[in-house]
């Protein structure tokens, strides 16, 4: 497993980025965590629907997204809010979506991030098609797709991996192995020694990286992205991480996992190690931390306010989203609905 920064903040190898850059990644992780905690609170208050927290996975998500170019394609899941945000998807739209509003699924023009996929495994093949189109168009845009350990058991994972390899497409497959698919542990999900080892069966390079090491992830994904962009085809990355919270706000992890595990992983927290690293390098202070948190808090509050200020969706919008132009049949239904 590739890793650059140890849980205690010590460094295994020369870091490829500056302290300023490290601070910026740290700030992004802090902001993401603030969003995550806020979302949990909003859900408890009934202001958003079921929420899938990513706490513990910020290193994987921020590190990966930091390796992408702003116009690259991104296809991720319900748990990828930090990743999507770092790739350009605004917080307020993410919140809007989670209040139960389809308009949250439309990132601004220029942000090529698909709305989160909720069917496990369904979206990886979309990334393949996106990459295929870019290759045919002769562009050097790549497609990045993120998914969980559980998703690797779906048939669609297999077909996506195979197509990407067969057509030598610029796709980066990024598995956040957070040890569980809801209650089902990674150890039972597959008897493969590692998830990364699956890549070989497709003739694709596959590597493992410490998913809680944001700089390690950044480095690994940067390399994969560069390879894809330069025509070397697809590659696969398994980021080893841990979901510190429940699967979703509707889940109770006590039913299926040990507290001791969770404690072990808490020590490997992706934020903690960067903070320790920065501390040693003189780049961290309690004041800065407080400032980060308060700035992030303000931004997230603002995003929530923006989302909550969006007018109630109309039945016309719902019906209008089926096709580019509503058909006569739909217009008739709209008339009936508005009656």
């Amino acid at each position: 497993m590739f890793s650059l920064v140890n849980p205690d903040g010590t460094v295994r190898d020369r870091l490829p980025i500056s302290i300023e850059e490290t601070k910026s990644l740290y700030a992004d992780m802090v902001e993401s965590r603030v969003y995550d905690h806020k979302s949990m609170a909003l859900q408890r208050q009934g202001r958003i629907a079921t929420y899938a927290p990513f706490e513990g996975q910020e290193g994987a998500q921020i590190g990966a997204a930091a390796a992408l170019r702003s116009d690259d394609w991104v296809a991720g899941t319900y748990r990828d809010a930090a990743l999507m945000w770092k790739a350009g998807y605004p917080w307020d739209l993410m919140v809007l979506g989670r209040t139960g509003d389809e308009r949250g699924g439309a990132p601004p023009e220029g942000v090529n991030v698909l709305p989160a996929c909720l069917t496990v495994g369904g979206h990886m093949i979309h990334a393949v098609g996106l990459a295929w189109a870019e290759k045919l168009k002769g562009s050097d845009r790549i497609a990045f797709t993120s998914f969980g350990d559980g998703a690797t058991s779906e048939g669609d994972f297999h077909e996506a991996m195979n197509f990407a390899a067969v057509y030598e497409l610029p796709v980066v497959f990024f598995c956040q192995n957070n040890q569980f698919a809801i209650s089902y542990p990674r150890s039972e999900q597959t008897r493969s020694q590692s998830i990364a080892a699956k890549a070989e069966g497709y003739g694709m390079p596959g590597v493992q990286v410490d998913g809680n090491d944001v700089i390690g992830v950044l480095t690994t994904v940067t390399e994969a992205v560069a390879g894809a962009r330069e025509g070397e085809g697809p590659s696969f990355i398994e980021a080893i991480t841990y979901r510190m919270g429940p699967h979703t706000t509707a889940d109770d992890p006590d039913r299926y996992r040990d507290d001791t595990d969770a404690e072990d992983w808490a020590a490997k927290d992706p934020l903690l190690r960067v903070r320790l690293l920065l501390e040693k390098a003189g780049g961290w202070s309690p004041e800065w931390q407080a400032e980060l948190e308060s700035t992030a808090g303000e931004r997230i509050e603002e995003a929530v306010a923006t989302a909550e200020a969006v007018a109630e969706p109309t039945v016309g919008e719902m019906i209008g989203r089926v096709f580019a132009q509503p058909t006569d049949a739909l217009l008739a239904q709209l008339a009936e609905a508005e009656e």
């Binding site: 139960g100 058991s153 809801i182 919008e317 739909l330």
Partner: protein
Amino acid sequence: MSVVTLAQALNGGLDLALEKDPNVVLLGEDIGRTGGVFRITDGLREKYGEDRVFDTPVAESGIVGAALGMAIAGLKPVAEIQFLGFSYPAYDQIINHVARMRNRSAHRFTVPMVIRIPFGGGIGAAEHHSESTESIYAHVPGLKVVVPSTPADAKGLLLAAIEDPDPVLLLEPIRLYRAVKEEVDEGDYTTPIGPIRVERSGDDITLFSWGAMMKETRAAAAVLEDDGVSVEVIDIRTLSPLDRDGIAASVEKTGRAVIIHEAPLTAGFGGEIAAVLAERALYSLKAPVRRVTGWDTVFPLKRSESHYLPGVDRIVHAARDILEG
């Protein structure tokens, strides 16, 4: 007898089936350790062990296809798919294999298995978690499709499905899991697969529905009765095989019909019922048949759910229309 919810009735039915027949096994995502996302299998792994209640990888086609193999080899698997919106990866196994093995092998290999799937919206769930695509299953020859709307029927149809020598799809109305309670026999009994259930007898109009929409249908019937209308309420309960005689007989009596379902209108199962009426009860019909259904849109997210779901008002409105018409 005890007063239980629909969810509890299902749990009790599974418990009973596991207890009485060692060939019954359960499999599905998260059904063991957590008892399933809706806790329908709660406690059963603890009680019957890891060799009767299996948690599986996230692979719906695999779950159904493996259950099919188990059934051929003499077990009675009860597979759970977490939500109807996640059943589509298994559609191929269901239509091409589960429902056809008997035909393909001229009765030599048979598939006595059950697929249980929570379905329907109304709880503000995320995308894909509110599907009501029962018609795509009702169209599959060789598959039976049952949809309880009461705790007693839930248990009875579940046990009938497990006993059935052929594959049965049991669609469980999410919105009703914990919304209704009634007395349910704690013992072993079955509710026959096939016949409709006349929930309330009446003379002026028939309301047909199934699953979660029975709730709004009942409520609409109550409103209409307050108006002095004599309403017959029919819970279709088995979509396939369909009780065409029962459906036609009701409208021969009442002369008017409203069909209510949550799925989109076009090619929804309501069309089948309306067709039965147009074929069998035409001369009894005093007014056009009405379907009150979801619109031909994707089931929306929470904020638009009320725009989509057919409510009591729409049902009452349609009924009044044809009562006055």
